[in-house]
């Protein structure tokens, strides 16, 4: 079961993931991210505070946008992940390609860094 909530704070688009991302609903995540990008986002944050689990399908979704982010100069970060989920990102090595920060405030300050 997955719920997605979109909010905007200033120039930042925030997508909150609630529940679990697996093969059956990863397409919803994909669609959401597609929409956000099409609307010309420049700074995308993923709120993972209520994300209990993410499968390889979900990881695949994030990974497939990495090229788009770097080509279009979009800043991207994930915050609020629990230990288990963070571990999953680390084992795969995605933590070296995606900024994973502990909380929202850190994520927001990322944008202010030069």
């Amino acid at each position: 079961m997955l719920q997605l909530e979109r909010t905007k704070e200033g120039n930042k688009d925030i997508l909150r993931l609630i529940g679990e991302v697996d093969a059956s609903n990863s397409v919803l995540l994909d669609q959401s991210m597609q929409e956000i990008l099409q609307q010309g986002a420049t700074f995308l944050l993923i709120d993972g505070n209520q994300l209990g689990y993410i499968s390889s399908a979900g990881l695949g979704v994030f990974m497939s946008y990495l090229d788009d982010f770097s080509e279009q100069g979009i800043q991207f970060a994930i915050f609020g992940l629990n230990e288990q989920v963070t571990e999953v990102f680390k084992i795969l090595g995605l933590d070296r390609l995606i900024q994973i920060v502990p909380d929202k405030s850190t994520a927001i300050t990322l944008g202010n860094e030069p």
């Binding site: 689990y53 399908a57 990881l59 695949g60 990974m63 084992i91 795969l92 090595g93």
Partner: protein
């Protein structure tokens, strides 16, 4: 199959009939000769009667054969044959009259022999006609058989048989017994004459034709009857062949049944269209209820349905609206009206009927009769077609008269609509079932193919033991393991995991195997292998997919292994010396995430030395993430503990321990929702 005798019974009977007729003629001529010359011809009456009876029987056999051969002919063809026989007989009779009128009192005109010949000819033709028509009436009476009718007919036939031989008792005198016999036969004829069930099946045109034919048959009958009476009164004859109970009974029967048929056909003319209508409705219903053939489409069913509804209600115009969600189109949605009028009328219909959400189930099943205030059309009938609880289409029928749709029409149209919906539903369900079956077959094939991709035997030397196990979540999966012997002292082990599960993961797993089997022959080191593998796989992985892998190159001489990890679950290493197990920590990004040469900066290799008794356990995340009902995962720690506690066991036993523990942990209500695989290596 019973083979009918090859004897042409019909021909034989015809031949015999003609023979008998000639004998009759001859006997009579002899008798006349005797009478003229005042000699006793010595030929008794009985001879003539016997010949006459034989003649009737043979003619009966000839015609019975004809009827048997033409059993399948329609009524009209057979009736027409009767008419032609009758016309032939009647015209022969009239011609005889005319000839004798012309001949007058001339020598030839008064010659008894000639007269006798003509008499016999007319007798033969009249008998043939009567017997043919009798058999024809029999065919019609017994068209719809039931026990009662069959019994009645048999009584009649027996009575006729009796009448045939009656001549021996009665000598053709018109006395009371004769009249009594005739009356009985007439009464039976009348009883039989009510069996007219073949008449409603004729259409309007056929009924008119039948009226004509029956009229002609009765006309011929009357003409022939008068001729019989005439020649009977002539007194010139020695033997009266025609004052015969049998023949007169046939006259009666033919006339009575012909008259009844004529009247009933006549009175059925105005109502014949109702019967035809019912027949058409039944045929349409049958067409709708047939399964949709592979060449047909749902559109054709709707086409037939629209036509059927129009004809059942005698509508002046109609159209069908298809739910925009449907993928097919109806070629001619409008019948007998154009788009502009349709739009006008559409706007006059209730607003709720514009939407495609059925308000309630029962409402939607019925046909709705609506009054509309349009210049030309005054009443409409709206029919909803429900398939699998959603509205497939709407049919609107319109008529120029007010309240043009009666209860019966609404009923039959409702039946048609329901049947069409059932046909469409069945068609869709059947297609789904076929697809599912095909899909299942494909999966089975894929399963077989994939089983062949995992090694049956794991290459290893004497210096270590190894075993492996893999289980797919679906019929096919994305886990992979393999071994490769470089030379006598170098062995490569690899375990891989394609993201996701199911058929697309299985395809990528096959690609992974190909990549491994090719690259490993180049004798390259683990990090370089991962780099080249990444390059190869980047070209063939789908957009959202990646592959994780762990590779070990074991050197049995130096007792070391070189290891690289591309995003895969860390390998557990039990060190015998420390009696403790730990997960090997080494950086490495999964394959297919960075699809360019910079990948090589994201992967590394490291060489480690091993000791006797050390154990390596390679896993995929399916084992790690197997969880209980509470959501708790099996996790790294449990695996660590199991290996530490069972380190003395052989790889097979250790493997079993882990798998058993996993299943026990997950229990009945938990889930291992992924492929899971395991490889255990124990150094001796």
């Amino acid at each position: 199959m019973i083979k009918k005798s090859a004897l042409p019974l019909g021909r034989i009977s015809l031949f015999l009939a003609i023979l008998v007729w000639l004998a009759l003629l001859l006997v009579d001529l002899v008798r006349i000769f005797g009478m003229i010359n005042n000699l006793d011809s010595g030929v008794s009456e009985e001879v003539t009667w016997i010949l006459e009876i034989l003649f009737f029987i043979f003619i009966y056999l000839v015609y019975r054969r004809i009827f048997w051969k033409n059993k399948q002919s329609d009524f009209l063809t057979l009736i027409w044959r009767g008419v032609s026989t009758g016309l032939f007989a009647a015209s022969a009779g009239l011609l005889t009259e005319v000839i004798y009128l012309a001949l007058g009192e001339s020598k030839i005109g008064t010659d008894p022999f000639l007269r006798n010949v003509f008499y016999h000819i007319n007798f033969a033709l009249t008998s043939a006609f009567l017997i043919f028509i009798t058999l024809l009436w029999k065919h019609l009476i017994l068209y719809q058989k039931n026990k009662q009718v069959v019994n009645q007919w048999q009584v009649f036939e027996i009575s006729l048989l009796g009448a045939l031989f009656f001549v021996f008792f009665n000598h053709n005198n018109l006395d009371y017994s004769f009249l009594f016999g005739l009356t009985i036969l007439l009464v039976i004829s009348i009883l039989l004459a009510v069996n007219l069930k073949w008449i409603p099946y004729l259409n309007f045109k056929e009924k008119w034709k039948t009226l004509l034919f029956l009229f002609l048959i009765m006309g011929c009958t009357v003409v022939l009857f008068y001729r019989v009476l005439d020649s009977g009164n002539e007194g010139n004859l020695q033997i009266n062949l025609t004052d015969n109970l049998f023949l007169l009974a046939l006259f009666g029967f033919v006339f009575v049944y012909g008259l009844f048929s004529f009247l009933v056909t006549l009175f059925n003319l105005p109502t014949s269209s109702v019967f035809e209508q019912k027949l058409t409705e039944a045929i349409n219903f049958q067409k709708l209820s047939q399964s949709i053939q592979p060449e047909e489409s749902e559109e054709q069913v709707l086409d037939i349905l629209l036509d059927s509804c129009i004809s059942a209600s005698f509508s002046d115009a109609a159209w069908i609206e298809l739910n925009p969600k449907e993928s097919f189109q109806v070629k001619n949605p409008l019948r007998f009206l154009d788009e502009s009028i349709k739009t006008e009328i559409r706007s006059l219909l209730p607003k709720e009927t514009q939407s495609w959400v059925p308000a309630s189930m029962t409402e939607a099943h019925q046909a709705q009769s609506i009054r509309i205030a349009h210049a030309n059309y005054k009443s409409a009938l709206m029919v909803h077609l429900l398939v699998n609880k959603s509205l497939l289409a709407r049919i609107v029928l319109i008529k120029e008269v007010k309240e043009g749709f009666n209860k019966e029409m609404i009923g039959i149209i409702g039946t048609f609509a329901r049947q069409a919906c059932i046909s469409v539903e069945n068609h869709r369900l059947l297609n789904q079932a076929i697809e599912n079956e095909r899909y299942q077959e494909e999966l089975k094939i894929a399963q077989r193919v994939q089983k062949a991709l995992l090694p049956l035997k794991l290459d290893h030397p004497a210096s270590f033991d190894i075993c492996a196990y893999s289980n797919t979540a679906d019929e096919v999966g994305g886990d992979y393991y393999d071994t490769y012997q470089v030379n006598e002292t170098h062995f490569v082990l690899i375990m891989g995991d394609v993201s996701g599960k199911g058929t697309s993961a299985a395809f990528h797993m096959a690609q992974m195997k190909g990549v491994f089997q090719s690259l490993i022959q180049l004798g390259i080191h683990p990090a370089e292998f991962m780099n080249k593998a990444n390059g190869a796989l980047s070209k063939c992985l789908e957009r959202n997919h990646f592959i994780t892998a762990s590779i070990f190159e074991i050197d049995t001489i130096n007792k070391s292994f070189c290891h690289a990890r591309a995003g895969h679950i860390p390998t557990l290493w039990y060190k015998a010396a420390e009696k403790a197990a730990d997960f090997i920590s080494i950086e490495g990004l999964g394959l297919g995430i960075v699809r360019n040469p910079s990948y090589k900066n994201h992967v590394q290799e490291e060489t480690f030395e091993y000791r006797s008794g050390d154990i390596l356990v390679l896993l995929t995340d399916g084992i790690l993430e197997g969880r209980k009902e509470t959501g708790e995962q099996f996790g790294y720690d449990r695996i660590k503990i199991i290996v530490e506690e069972n380190h003395q066991k052989s790889p097979i036993q250790l493997q079993q321990e882990i798998i058993d523990a996993l299943h026990q942990f997950v229990g009945g209500d938990g889930m291992i929702d992924d492929d899971y695989s395991l490889m255990v290596v124990k150094f001796k």
